[in-house]
Symmetry: C2
Subunit: 185 residues, 2 copies
């Protein structure tokens, strides 16, 4: 289940261009699977080469040709095979938590800023989820609703945890501060 497969899955919902898929990645998929043009265009080219998708060039005036992709029967079979994998991964890459590991090497104000910014970003995601539930919830497969609910549950848990333990972490950082300063200067 790489970018190729996710593109294939998105195309089960109807034809789309690379640009269209990018928007899907930014909106609904963004919080658990992101991809940029640098992955999407090569992915579509590779899928087309293997006949998992077909490609139609639609000329446009003043803009590059729009390349419209459609999933083929062979592509559907490929997707089924990918979905049959019993242990899909779920990985986190968190510079935030890595930073927190070294909180004792930071200035308390720096730490507070990082924690506040993290909460702000979580709230942005929560608004995104609200909007999704208000507008797309009915028109979309049930699985999408599941992922949005999961995203919300996880974000809320993170926010609550920061609000419950963030101040304590900052205080502990303040306590060891004199040591750090003597080392640094």
């Amino acid at each position: 289940m790489d970018v190729k497969t996710v593109c294939l899955g998105m195309l089960t919902d109807g034809e789309a261009s690379g640009y269209d898929l990018k928007k899907h990645f930014e909106s609904s998929f963004g919080h658990f699977f992101s991809a940029g043009y640098g992955s999407i265009y090569p992915a579509l080219a590779s899928l087309a080469e293997k006949n998992f998708v077909s490609c139609e060039c639609v000329p446009q005036e003043g803009k590059p040709d729009r390349k419209v992709y459609r999933i083929t029967e062979k592509g559907r079979e490929k997707l089924q095979a990918e979905l049959a994998k019993p242990n899909p991964s779920h990985r986190v890459r968190s510079e935030f938590l890595a930073t927190m590991c070294f909180a004792h090497l930071m200035e308390p104000e720096q730490l507070r800023t990082v924690l506040e910014n993290r909460i702000a970003e979580i709230e942005t995601y929560e608004e995104m989820f609200d909007e999704f539930e208000a507008t797309c919830m009915k028109s979309t497969p049930h699985g999408m609703g599941f992922t949005v609910g999961m995203g919300r549950a996880v974000m809320t848990a993170m926010k609550n945890y920061i609000e419950a333990h963030g101040d304590q972490l900052i205080e502990q950082t303040e306590v060891v501060e004199p040591l750090r300063k003597s080392v640094a200067s």
Copy 2:
């Protein structure tokens, strides 16, 4: 804050070899920042080249030389600068959630298996957190405890969400099953 920086941070805790660092990545850091030899060794080489770490070759019998790395004063400054970044990222790459988006294209038993396996993996993490709290909690900086608590909070939220909504998702999949079959066969 890439693998290089995290290695640098780990080295503030004392000298280590690439192999040692890999074990750190597997144990305490594993749930939010993973790295394999393919990233660690080039990272250390790059850090050494820039004099952020020093390297001492310790010959051993019957084994390859052990290369022991230590952070330098220049490395500490570099780390401080990295930690000062106010918006460290927190990204999820979830083949699991991507799979869930296409739940309506799956067999209900497949879906059930995926959900069960996810819960099993979460429980493995929870055991890892228990063990960490029982053994390493006192000897480790406060920030580590924060990340473990956060990890636990997030994992628990995921598990609860699956337990609360998983069956419903499977049922919804069963409902549309006849449609899917007629397309597939």
